[in-house]
């Protein structure tokens, strides 16, 4: 569905350096990214702000042209066949809307039929299906400007899917949504992926989205692919330390125990980082023997810690699930 090989996108940033002088600085937003996405996959595309995610998406949809490398989406070169490709893919830019601000939601959805030349009968059926799945009924006749963010996002999802695209590209579709709206959107995405086989590429900063939906993740950082593999694999391969939070009866000096030292002290609370090699049971037993402990909790490194470490450029975490070309 998507084949990217050594894709590079560089911009020239011009800045004023004197009254008439301008300096041109080349900026490489995407630096030799290669990956493939097969039909029916649900792939998360992650990376810190400014890593090159949106640039990649704009290249995939043909809005931007790659500076070098080859890119195929649905077998087409996106920038050359932009119009043909647009009829076969759906795109949602979470922070922007394709809907007509001053008109009822229904009108925006009707226009999609004209824009993508969908048969009347097929459109009717799909319209009914999406209206039911996304629960659009109650606000179909409300002007878009009066919709809540969650309602608007559901409307945008419907607009992106009415022409039954093979590939759905989502750029932060849950940004700013409350937990209920997020759940609706996630359920919906999971369903169209499972039932219709729609391939989905999802960009998000919401790790809940990723944990819930994506079996595979791509992580981009500084324009390069830092990881490509299964989410579970990522968790496993990472040398994730565990964190022991100890609450003592009364405040004391930082605890030192078998070479483990408290890295943070706040009154009676202390945080101890346990390396993989340490046995938590032994440490806890020793702790309770030596100190007057009121409470103890052990926290596993979540996907959040793993990503934070990856984004920070922690060498220890750079262990791709699959080999990634440098």
């Amino acid at each position: 569905m998507i084949e990217a090989e050594n894709v590079v996108k560089s911009f020239t940033v011009r800045s004023r350096s004197g009254l008439l002088r301008r300096t041109r600085t080349p900026l490489v937003a995407v630096d030799g990214v290669s990956f493939t996405v097969a039909k029916g996959e649900f792939v998360g595309y992650l990376g810190p702000n400014g890593a090159g995610k949106s640039t990649t998406i704009k290249m995939l949809t043909g809005i931007l042209t790659a500076s070098s490398g080859t890119l195929r989406v649905c077998g087409l070169d996106p920038s050359r066949r932009r119009t043909t490709l647009a009829r076969r893919i759906g795109v949602v830019f979470g922070q922007r809307t394709t809907l007509w601000w001053d008109l009822p939601l229904r009108d925006s959805l009707t226009l999609v039929r004209r824009l993508y030349r969908v048969e009347a009968a097929a459109h009717r059926e799909r319209f009914a299906e999406l209206t039911a799945l996304l629960e659009l009924g109650p606000f179909l006749d409300t002007p878009v400007r009066q919709l809540s963010l969650g309602q608007r996002m559901r409307g945008d999802l419907a607009a992106a899917l009415l022409h039954d695209p093979e590939l759905l590209v989502l750029d932060e579709p849950t940004i700013g949504l409350d937990v209920v709206s997020k759940a609706t959107v996630r359920d919906f995405l999971e369903r169209i992926n499972a039932e219709r086989g729609t391939t989905i590429l999802l960009t998000t900063h919401d790790l809940g989205d990723i944990e819930r939906l994506c079996r595979r993740v791509l992580i981009i950082d500084h324009g390069r692919l830092a990881y490509d593999g299964a989410l579970d694999e990522l968790r496993r391969t990472v040398d994730a330390d565990r964190l022991l939070v100890v609450e003592l009866e009364r405040p004391g000096p930082p605890i030192t125990l078998d070479g483990i030292q408290a890295e943070r002290v706040e009154g009676p609370r202390q945080w101890l980082r346990l390396p993989r090699s340490a046995n938590a049971a032994t440490v806890v037993a020793e702790l309770t023997r030596v100190h007057q402990v009121r409470d103890i909790s052990l926290r596993e490194a979540g996907i959040e810690d793993v990503l934070a470490a990856l984004y920070r450029g922690d060498r220890a975490y750079r262990r791709p699930g699959r080999p990634v070309a440098p």
Partner: protein, 262 residues
């Protein structure tokens, strides 16, 4: 074609969605029409038949041009410029439809909505209060064509200004310059017929003349037969030239494109 008539229809409804705002604008246009009319009457009392107009022509010209402010959007501006600035243009560029055609359809819809909601009051007030030259029935159709071409020329100019955003990143300077040009050279400040010599000739050949002066003269019935065809051809030529330039600008913008923000 396909989707564009719908874009036109949505453009009309989108811009007609706030009737109270339109009513306020119509009122403003009417009040300023009265002020301009008194200035012009004073001028024509001193110089009757200035530029070949009599006082009735001048007053009619004043109110027809006040009525055209909205449809022709003489003060410039287009939503597209803001979309280029904030990056929403990505949505427009993703659509399987040409950018200029889409926005032309939207703008013609806007003009139609504006004509319905904003053009009536100044014309009516002018006709009731002042001596007024109503168009001959056979000129109404010609005026409709002239108006359509005027809006197209106006759109094409504003589209080019908006396209400038791709290179300049800010449209305030360009807007200020084009605002002065369009107010002065369209005939909004004074009918172009009163401009003497070379200045008058130049003013009457620039594209802004096609936006206000030409449709107003068609309304006043100052063109007959071949002259009328010539006047409409003048507008059509500017429309074609500017839309052609717009198409080139769109291609160039696509080629150099950096979508700002996000």
């Amino acid at each position: 074609m396909g989707v564009l008539p719908w874009v036109w229809w949505y453009g009309l409804r989108r811009h007609a969605a706030y009737p109270l705002g339109s009513a306020t604008e119509a009122l403003t246009n009417t009040v300023f029409g009265f002020m301009r009319a008194y200035v012009l009457i004073a001028l024509w009392q001193v110089r009757p038949s200035l530029g070949g107009y009599d006082a009735t022509d001048a007053v009619t010209f004043c109110f027809i041009t006040q009525a055209l402010i909205g449809p022709v959007q003489i003060f410039g501006g287009m939503d597209l410029a803001e979309r280029i600035r904030n990056g929403d243009i990505a949505i427009d560029l993703h659509r399987p439809a040409g950018l200029q055609g889409w926005w032309l359809a939207d703008d013609l819809g806007r003009a139609a909505g504006s004509l319905l909601l904003r053009a009536g009051p100044p014309l009516l007030a002018g006709a009731l209060v002042f001596p007024f030259r109503a168009p001959a029935p056979e000129n109404v159709a010609a005026f409709a064509v002239a108006l359509l071409l005027a809006v197209t020329v106006s759109f094409a100019l504003r589209y080019l200004v908006a396209m400038g955003m791709f290179w300049l990143r800010d449209d305030r300077g360009l807007n200020a310059v084009t605002l002065v040009m369009s107010l002065f050279f369209s005939g909004m400040i004074l009918p172009l017929v009163v401009f003497p010599g070379t200045l008058g000739t130049v003013a009457r050949t620039l594209p802004w003349a096609a936006m206000i002066q030409v449709p107003a003269d068609v309304f006043l019935g100052r063109y007959d037969g071949v002259e009328l065809v010539g006047a409409l051809a003048f507008q059509a030529a500017w429309a074609a030239l500017l839309l052609g330039t717009g198409a080139l600008a769109t291609r160039a913008a696509r080629r150099k494109l950096v979508v700002h923000g996000g």
